[in-house]
């Protein structure tokens, strides 16, 4: 029967713990690789870059509206960016909140829109692990 703790559980438990630690480390390393000095916000839809904005040079707040299957409103301010509003069903993108560090990203999967802050050194994006 499967009721009690078995020997195998220890093995599974330690493997899972190890995997969690490794993946945390991997994400940390990946994020630190992507961080240059500047804060460039890259907005993509269907993985096509539709807008790149240097957040540090932004003086006043600005709104960008994106259409598609759904509609997103993205709000930009000096040094930070967020999904302000959306009409997708889950609103994960809006709940993610402000992005203000390099490597952070917010995603609206229903509309296939992603916002990511990338460092000023170009060329790092996509698969790293």
């Amino acid at each position: 029967m499967f009721n009690k703790m078995k020997k195998g559980d220890l093995v599974v438990g330690s493997i899972v713990l190890l995997l969690i630690i490794i993946s945390f480390a991997g994400v940390k390393i990946y994020n630190s690789l992507g961080s240059g000095n500047g804060k460039i916000a890259v907005i993509r839809q269907n993985n096509i870059i539709i807008k790149t904005i240097d957040l540090d040079k932004l003086k006043e707040s600005q709104e960008i509206k994106i259409d598609g299957d759904f509609h997103n409103t993205i709000l930009l301010e000096n040094g930070r960016i967020r999904f302000e509003d959306a009409d997708c069903p889950d609103l994960v993108c809006v709940k993610t909140g402000w992005l203000d560090k390099n490597g952070q990203m917010a995603v609206c999967l229903p509309n296939k829109v992603s916002v990511k802050i990338e460092g000023s050194d170009e060329g790092l994006d996509g698969v790293a692990f």
């Binding site: 438990g13 945390f24 709940k95 990203m105 229903p110 996509g126």
Partner: protein, 172 residues
């Protein structure tokens, strides 16, 4: 077990799984991350793997995912759930078959929920054409471990009650 009885039992479980996933969708998700969820329907998958086998469990998972994404969701959600569901069922079935008496159900369901999240994230990566979404994996793994342990305990209760009522052994 006759063919008809098997069909009736499997559709009964499929209906249960759909109800569980509808109930689950009523719970608010505390984290702004795709894929953090209770995974209640996984109970049915584990019970089916225990009493039937991988083939039957896969069948019910496919029916459940198809019908429950008709209720809420859409094509993208369907792709996520079906990939995660199939991957986790296969891995859990393998674990229960090979390590039958060496693993508790909680371990099996923890591994299953991690596989589910992994499958979902891979599909998300393909849909977005950007595998940076894999960065969600650590958080999803932690939520998967917590929920997986609970789901394993619940499945244990369900399996022992189902054994007691002999629904699988009584002649029709």
């Amino acid at each position: 077990m006759t063919k008809t009885k098997k069909m009736v039992l499997l559709s009964f479980f499929a209906a249960g799984a759909i109800v569980l996933s509808i109930i689950e969708s009523m719970f608010p998700v505390p984290l702004p991350i795709y894929g953090v969820k209770l995974g209640l329907a996984n109970i049915i998958t584990i019970v089916l793997l225990y009493f039937f086998g991988i083939r039957e469990a896969l069948m019910v998972v496919c029916i459940r995912v198809f019908l429950s994404t008709l209720y809420g969701g859409g094509f993208v959600v369907f792709l996520f759930s079906i990939t995660g569901g199939i991957l986790s069922t296969l891995v859990m079935g393998f674990l229960m078959k090979v390590f039958f008496d060496r693993l508790s159900l909680s371990s099996v369901s923890v591994v299953g929920s991690i596989m589910h999240n992994l499958g979902q994230l891979l599909v998300a990566g393909v849909v977005m054409k950007d595998f940076a979404v894999l960065g969600y994996l650590p958080v999803l793994m932690i939520s998967g471990v917590i929920m997986g342990v609970f789901i394993g305990i619940i499945s244990n209760f369900l399996i022992s009650s189902l054994k007691r009522i002999n629904v699988f052994t009584i002649k029709p």
